[in-house]
Symmetry: C2
Subunit: 355 residues, 2 copies
């Protein structure tokens, strides 16, 4: 079922996002950061974390849930770590700040870690992990999130689907980038189905009674529907996400965080955990990259199961999407486009940028 | 179907393991380490990584695959990391050495990391992660392993099921410990079914043609059957395990490692990645522990799905098993017991210790 969509260039979308975010109170540099993280997700084909989210972020800024001008504070600092308070800033602004610190620490001691409390929803975790790539480092980003998943054996929204992203530099090959929620699927995918008005597989969510459902509307808002974890192991990783991002940072966990999409005037208090590894401190970077290339090529050569045309590395499909969309533009569904137009009108921004 | 089993005390099993391992060439202290890691797994109810494995470890020592007296070398060292060469030592000996170094580094800079190449199969990853608990630290251990899993979209053994363990100290509550292979199930579980002669669920393994099978014999030896990854995400985590344990350590990846259980005279060349976080550097330890206790208690109170009597945290079932088995002894199946008797006879060790 083909869905109506527009193709918009990266540059146009970027300009629109920056303008709206500035109108909503962000300084120019921070507006650029948030916009860049959204467009990066769209380019990589991760539309669930792209401009689809802009209206919600704007709403949080306008309604006071997020602080447009945070004073990020260092609470504790050591040779290879820093603990930060994000002062209720946008997750992208706080997250980027934290990963910058992490990379600086790693360049000095081989390893850097930052924990952050009092942040907000930071979008796609890969954005922060991938900041490490320009410095030939391995980056890792974990965040907790307001509860949208049931615990293993439970029902109802009780824990975040706390994503984990890891980015690894390669040589001639593309970087290897894993970005996974610990639920069976990311909440954003359910939202896209909701926007498109299509049914979802039965193992994505359960309704508030804990019963499987193919109706994405059972998940939205305050209905009490919840994502299913990726089995017992996904639940276990989710618990670790709460500990590393929420407890180690001195921040919030579980239902101490309100739903960022719904309670737009409330502080969410999300926490992050960032780690960077300075590869060249461990092993000559060229040796590492050659071996990473070899890993990619070996896996590409693996015998394929029946019906499979090609075997992909983590982040490869996203890399191919980025090449294509940089050249051809970003497809935006009609529903998302109308949301953008609406938020543009509300902020008195001409949406002719988008056409 | 009740299976014949013997109950053997922790102390008896320990003594038997130490004696056999010493006879096979390990120094007493190292024999104790290997035995302790096996008994720790049995106590925690993880029988797939317990004394079931002793005969295979002995075989590797006797056949020359593992070096009983390794000279572990530092290849590189920085303020918060160390890169080690395990000199083909037993994985338990090398792994414990690496985690000790990691904890020492973390006590100084807040974070410690060790990578190790040229090690061997190290048993249950939780053993190393849990070493952090005595020092009120968070521990993480990752290892790669000889290929026993197919890649996503592939068939045949191509990548290890590269386990990840994370251990977190709590206060009044038990420690929170996740120990997961990135396959749907650990290979050891298939082996137990093979020993018991029972069928397995269809999503555990595929045969060499890539077809699902309920016959655990399709997995053993060199039949070419392979474990299934925990979906695309499990495969992605497995790739990261190769990179962190294999490439960053300067070690082997994928099929560069022979099968430790089969090629008992060959160096396996497994790599490990260890990380420790000095909690009290980030946040006062008592505050952290109180919050960890709160997390446990909140999750225990979550609404339960129909038919579920109790919700468990990661590591809780293992903790309850340990309490019970310390008091009552360790059940050992008749098949495993006979393997132990056989290896005892081969080494001229009186098996009356076990009765």
């Amino acid at each position: 079922m083909a869905e109506k969509e527009k193709i918009i260039s990266e540059r146009q979308l970027m300009e629109f996002c920056v303008q709206t975010l500035q109108k909503a109170g962000l300084p120019q540099e921070d507006a650029w950061t948030v916009a860049d993280s959204l467009i990066a997700a769209n380019l990589r084909g991760v539309d669930s974390h792209g401009v689809l989210r802009l209206p919600s972020y704007i709403r949080r800024l306008l309604d006071g849930g997020a602080n447009p001008k945070p004073q990020i504070q260092v609470i504790r600092r050591g040779a290879s770590f820093v603990r930060l308070d994000g002062d209720r800033g946008m997750g992208q602004v706080v997250g980027k700040y934290a990963m910058k610190e992490t990379l600086e620490l790693a360049s000095q001691t081989g390893i850097g870690v930052a924990t952050v409390c009092n942040s907000d929803h930071f979008g796609a975790a890969a954005y922060y992990a991938m900041m490490a790539l320009k410095q030939d480092m391995i980056g890792l980003a974990i965040t907790n999130a307001a509860p949208i998943m049931c615990v293993w054996g439970g029902k109802g929204r009780f824990i975040g689907n706390n994503p984990i992203a890891i980015a690894v530099p390669a040589g001639k090959e593309f970087p290897i980038v894993l970005d996974m929620a610990v639920s069976n699927v990311a909440g954003g995918k359910v939202r896209i189905a909701e926007k498109k008005g299509i049914k979802i597989p039965l193992d994505w969510i359960v309704d508030e009674e804990g019963n499987p459902t193919d109706d994405p509307n059972a998940f939205g808002g305050k209905t009490g529907g919840s994502l299913l974890p990726l089995g017992y192991k996904g639940y276990g990783l989710g618990v670790m996400g709460e500990i590393l991002s929420g407890i180690l940072s001195g921040g919030r966990i579980l239902d101490e965080m309100p739903l960022w999409l719904v309670d737009t005037s409330l502080t969410v208090g999300i926490g992050h955990f960032m780690l960077a590894i300075h590869v060249d401190a461990f092993i000559p970077i060229q040796e590492f990259k050659n071996r990473a290339d070899h890993l990619v090529q070996r896996i590409h050569s693996a015998p394929r199961a029946k019906g499979v045309e090609r075997i992909y590395l983590p982040g490869e499909i996203e890399h191919l999407s980025e090449l294509k969309r940089r050249a051809e533009g970003i497809p935006v569904s009609e529903a998302v486009f109308q949301d953008l137009v609406r938020i543009g009108h509300e902020l008195n921004i001409g949406t002719e940028i988008l056409s």
